[in-house]
């Protein structure tokens, strides 16, 4: 008990700070990634050949850009875009400095997940609504996105978990977070207890997010 007491006294403030940092990084970058990734995913689907806004240049261009960004490992991306990060947020370090690369890393990922989810929607249903004289914009909102909701939620869950993983590397630019804590204290200084505690928190976090995502998706899915 004493050992536990001692551990919490010594580490709780540090772990607590790391948790807050992780939440900040994940929360803010998820928000921006969704704001960029979701419309991008919708656009990729709509500009596909045979879809309502088909345009092979836009479609081809978006595909190329998404693939290029998705090819770069996060750790490389983090340094590769330093000048851009500096230009956008004025700093390249700390939580602020890591949000730009996290968004650039996650947004294309989300747009791919959105694309996959939307492509699952039965084309026949979209066509039925078109045949009823309903506008494309309304079809996107009321049919496409509505029908894809369960898959969209699952996709966003996957993206969130991936994002938590990516924040572990944020320590390299001094942004802190749980991953950084586990790496610096657990690995470099060999404070095993810290490593275990951090990993445990990460497991609980990921489990919770995945469970919420699954439940929500199951509730929306009616087939």
């Amino acid at each position: 008990m004493d050992r536990f007491q001692q551990f919490t006294d010594q580490w709780l403030p540090i772990i607590g700070k790391a948790v807050v940092e992780t939440f900040q990084m994940v929360g803010v970058s998820l928000l921006f990634s969704i704001l960029i990734g979701v419309p991008l995913g919708i656009l990729v689907v709509l500009t596909r050949p045979g879809q309502s806004l088909h345009n092979k240049w836009v479609y081809g261009g978006l595909n190329l850009i998404i693939n290029i960004i998705r090819s770069v490992p996060f750790i490389i991306l983090l340094f590769f875009i330093l000048p851009f990060t500096k230009f956008i947020v004025g700093t390249t370090i700390g939580v602020q400095g890591v949000i730009v690369p996290l968004v650039i890393y996650t947004a294309p990922y989300i747009s791919r997940l959105i694309e996959t989810a939307l492509l699952e929607v039965d084309n026949g249903v979209l066509e039925a609504y078109k045949a009823m004289g309903i506008k494309t914009r309304q079809i996107i909102w009321n049919v496409m996105l509505r029908e894809a909701r369960p898959s969209l939620i699952l996709g966003l869950t996957i993206a969130t978990v991936g994002l938590i993983g990516a924040t572990a590397m944020a320590g390299l630019v001094g942004a802190g977070g749980l991953g950084d804590l586990a790496y610096r204290f657990g690995h470099l200084r060999y404070e095993v207890d810290v490593m275990y505690a951090t990993v445990l928190i990460l497991i609980i976090l990921v489990q919770t997010i995945q469970t919420i995502g699954n439940r929500l998706a199951a509730r929306l899915k009616k087939d």
Partner: protein
């Protein structure tokens, strides 16, 4: 109501152009039910999708209620589509919405007032006989029930015209019949004109006034259902008829029978179906008919009977018997082996 004028549709693909529809002409008058029948790949699906411009015809005009749809602006076309209902083989309902919402959402989207939406959902669910399923999800319904919801959704827009794209093809025979009865009912009671495509002859038999047979993109034969069922011209049409009535005899059997007499197919139409003509013939003339196959097809607007017989007797007696039959409205056809 609908006039399709010289409709052609060519798809250009990697392996060259495919002419899905060639110079099709269709005219459906208000209140009628017309059917296009053909095998898969005949182009009938493309043809019906040209009617509401889900597929843009390469050439030709689509005139509905006097207006050429191919010349309309995007917005006017949408307005026009609101008056054309369509049902599909795959039902195309929202999986994530209840029966109520499946009918209500499109109504709201085309700008119907909220109260009116509720009234219409109730009214048309009653017409299709699903008032008790209002809160069910499509996954909880059978195929036939899903198609009824789709029909209610189409009717709720209060269209003048209903397009049916293989609406019964995914259903079992009994459910097919009940959906066909429903289509007949809405045609009669709501006065909705129907154009349907199908590969099932019994769909044509039960509800169509007029039939088009389609093959390789062209309409090869057309006529009233009675004309087509009593006097089919093209091999494809005859093949379709064979799917619902045993008409065909093997050529070896015909050749064997021909050694001793004539092998004939008699087609009875309208009044002639009600008379015992064959019995009269054998009494009046010295001929002996032996029945090989017989069937009767009930169409929406009449009855067509078919009898294949082996007719024995002297040449002049047979000739006299046959002219007697023809005088009484029977169509006589010599079968070839």
């Amino acid at each position: 109501m609908i006039v399709l004028e010289n409709i052609s549709k060519t798809f250009s693909g990697k392996k060259g152009d495919i002419e899905a529809v060639r110079n099709a002409n269709i005219e459906v008058k208000t209140g009628e039910i017309h059917g296009v029948i053909g095998y898969s790949g005949a182009g009938k699906s493309t043809l019906i999708r040209c009617v509401n411009l889900l597929e843009n015809p390469t050439s030709g005009r689509v005139i509905i209620g006097g207006e050429d749809l191919t010349s309309l602006s995007e917005q006017n076309l949408r307005e026009k589509r609101k008056k054309i209902g369509m049902i599909f083989q795959g039902f195309n309902l929202l999986k994530t919405a209840t029966v109520y919402d499946n009918i209500a959402i499109p109504l709201r989207l085309i700008g119907i007032q909220k109260k009116e939406v509720g009234d219409r959902v109730k009214k048309y669910l009653e017409i299709v006989g699903l008032a008790d399923k209002v809160n069910a999800y499509p996954s909880q319904l059978s195929g036939g029930q899903k198609q009824r919801v789709a029909i209610a959704r189409a009717l709720a827009q209060e269209p003048e015209l209903l397009l049916s794209d293989e609406a019964t093809s995914a259903l079992d025979p009994e459910t097919t019949d009940s959906i066909l009865e429903l289509l007949l009912k809405i045609n009669k009671e709501l006065g909705i004109t129907i154009l349907l495509i199908t590969h099932e002859m019994n769909v044509i038999q039960k509800i169509c006034d007029y039939v088009y047979v389609m093959e390789q993109g062209s309409i090869i034969e057309q006529g009233t259902a009675i004309e087509l069922f009593s006097n089919p011209q093209y091999p494809t049409t005859k093949k379709f008829l064979n799917t619902i009535a045993q008409r065909k005899l093997s050529s070896s059997l015909i050749q064997q029978l021909k050694l001793s007499g004539n092998v004939l197919r008699l087609t009875f139409l309208g009044e002639s179906t009600g008379q015992p003509l064959l019995a009269l013939v054998s009494q009046k003339f010295n001929v002996k008919p032996n029945i090989l196959t017989a069937n009767i097809i009930e169409l929406k607007n009449g009855i067509v009977g078919n009898i294949s017989i082996h007719l024995l007797g002297e040449k002049q007696d047979i000739a006299a018997a046959l002219s007697y039959l023809e005088e009484h409205g029977v169509n006589v056809e010599e079968l070839e082996g």
